[in-house]
């Protein structure tokens, strides 16, 4: 190969590598929006957070991925898992769960921990432990490991006509899980789903399970 072509090829590959690195860095630095629950929050009052989970987001770069969505204080569904909440405040969580369920890889996460009263409600009925091998199993969990919080989210029947695109409405089959917890001092606390729901990835723990905005997020506690 002539020297001129060698040099051109080398420069071209170098530029490609640079562009790739820039895209990778941009991808790493970009993150979903943060929903702020501290604005207009009255001291001593609880914060209400409403989420939904669905089996396929339906659009965007990963339409087949499972995902969480967050309802902003203005009532808009936002594709994010980042929230700012006040410190030492009770948070009342309501999760509309639209995904199908399955037995857990580890039933240890089939129990409720770290919530007010050590329990949650499923469609209005309190529960502490559910056998994931019975019924529809679990679709996801809402877990903040550093705070000891774990709430399994009961699944829907996989044969039902499940919601396939965000945002889902309560016309689709769903489960409603409610629980409360108290925020700690200021800091950033990672939260995640512990059900390996990244279908098609090794051990189900790739893809949405490793992506902020889908099955991972941060609880940003401000002072």
């Amino acid at each position: 190969m002539p020297t001129k072509w060698r040099a051109t090829t080398a420069v071209g590959l170098f530029l490609l590598a640079v562009v790739g690195i820039i895209f990778a860095i941009m991808g790493l630095l970009s993150e979903p929006p943060t929903v702020n629950f501290t604005t207009n929050h009255a001291a001593g009052q609880p914060v209400d957070i409403t989420l939904e989970t669905l089996g396929t987001y339906g659009s965007g770069p990963h339409p087949t991925w499972v995902s969480y969505l967050t309802k902003s204080p203005e009532g808009q569904w936002v594709h994010t898992t980042l929230w700012t909440v006040p410190a030492h405040t009770r948070v009342n969580m309501t999760i509309y769960q639209y995904d199908s369920g399955s037995p857990l890889r580890n039933q240890q996460i089939g129990q409720v921990t770290g919530t007010v009263g050590g329990q949650a409600t499923l469609n209005g009925k309190p529960f502490k432990v559910i056998d994931s091998n019975a019924g529809n199993g679990f679709a996801h969990t809402f877990s903040i490991p550093t705070l000891g919080i774990n709430v399994p989210l009961y699944g829907n029947n996989a044969n039902a006509n499940l919601c396939g695109a965000a945002p889902c409405t309560t016309k689709s089959p769903h489960q409603v899980i409610k629980f409360s917890f108290t925020t700690p001092g200021p800091g950033q606390y990672p939260w995640q789903c512990f059900v390996p729901c990244g279908l098609g990835y090794l051990y189900g723990n790739g893809g949405p399970m490793q992506t902020i905005g889908y099955m991972d997020g941060f609880l940003k506690v401000s002072s």
């Binding site: 399955s102 037995p103 857990l104 890889r105 580890n106 039933q107 240890q108 089939g110 129990q111 921990t113 502490k128 432990v129 056998d131 994931s132 091998n133 490991p145 550093t146 000891g148 990672p190 995640q192 512990f194 059900v195 390996p196 729901c197 990244g198 279908l199 098609g200 990835y201 090794l202 051990y203 189900g204 723990n205 399970m209 490793q210 992506t211 902020i212 991972d216």
Partner: protein, 327 residues
């Protein structure tokens, strides 16, 4: 071969007046400074800093690691001192002075048989000693706190060993206590003055159980029982971290464990067994390894029918508890 007494002198021996002695015996002076400083600093380091060298003395394996580090540092300190003393001495004694004569170096070390033989002999002795010492320190009852695989070679001498199963999963550790009904919890509590057998495994990718202050570190491999022994010797808390890059929340995969008195442990274990009973009965029977479904969300984790109980692991004097099963 050159005369060590003149090595490094600014005045070549050849230029000294006939019958005069060399100005300074630099080698002997350097050796004297080195021996004196080493003799002072080595014991000072060992007795003052030594007890504070990580990972502490919370367990026999941690204490062993601390002792090993101290031995290494006591050996390394004179080597470091030798380099520093020579460097400082050279700067002070043989530096060029402003406006003075150009300094002249002493005989080259290359070709100096005494220097070369001394260097090779000293480093060989140190390295061989450390190889033997390190091997000896690894081969002791219960091993040195590292994972020994599923068939440990170095087993503890204690007749009662508490088995604690460490289960890594993306992204947290959970712990099963087979001698207390096989409950599984995110808390790691162990008794003092007890030999612990950590059975480390994983439900998904490779993790690494690193209980830093315990001096225990073992890979958590899926479908593999990696056993690490230690014997506790101090009360207190310790940190557990995953030490194998395992995904997005690898950095958050840590928790704090506690070494408590045997009475407190019994109390905690029985209370936790009772508190978690509803979920424990839903767990699979205790097994040293589990075979998860690798294809995604569906499927639980399954025992592979390995005998979950070892003959040496019968902690405590309550054999009726040794048959625990989650299933």
């Amino acid at each position: 071969m050159s005369d060590p007494a003149t090595a490094g002198s600014t005045t070549p021996a050849a230029e000294l007046p006939t019958g005069s002695q060399p100005e300074v015996h630099h080698w002997w002076r350097l050796i004297a400074i080195w021996v004196i400083l080493s003799a002072i600093l080595d014991p000072l380091f060992y007795f003052l800093a030594g007890p504070h060298i990580p990972p502490g003395r919370m367990t026999t394996t941690a204490g062993g690691a601390q002792f090993d580090f101290n031995v290494l540092l006591v050996i390394a300190l004179p080597v470091m001192l030798g380099v520093w003393i020579f460097m400082i001495y050279a700067v002070v004694m043989w530096r060029a002075s402003r406006g003075g004569p150009e300094p002249q170096g002493g005989p080259a070390a290359r070709g100096n048989l005494a220097v070369q033989a001394g260097w090779i002999l000293t480093t060989t002795v140190i390295v061989l000693f450390l190889a033997g010492f390190g091997t000896y320190e690894l081969v002791q009852p219960g091993g040195a706190g590292g994972g020994q695989g599923s068939s440990p070679i170095w087993t503890p001498t204690s007749k009662t060993v508490l088995p604690v199963q460490v289960i890594g999963q993306q992204w947290k550790f959970t712990y099963r206590y087979p001698t207390f009904g096989g409950f599984e919890t995110t808390q790691l509590v162990i008794p003092n003055d007890a030999t612990i057998a950590f059975h480390v495994t994983s439900l998904d990718v490779v993790h690494d159980f690193w209980a830093y202050q315990l001096g225990v570190k073992a890979d958590a491999d899926p479908s593999y029982d990696n056993v690490a022994y230690t014997t506790t010797s101090q009360l207190g808390s310790f940190t557990v971290r995953c030490d194998e890059l395992c995904g997005i929340w690898h950095g958050a995969m840590y928790n704090t464990g506690e070494v408590v008195t045997p009475a407190q442990f019994e109390s905690w274990a029985t209370a936790t067994e009772s508190r978690l009973a509803a979920n424990t009965k839903l767990l699979p029977s205790f097994s040293y390894t589990y075979v998860p479904d690798a294809n995604g969300a569906d499927g639980g984790y399954y025992p592979d029918n390995v005998d979950p109980y070892s003959k040496v692991e019968t902690y405590g004097a309550t054999p009726t508890k040794s048959g625990g099963s989650g299933g």
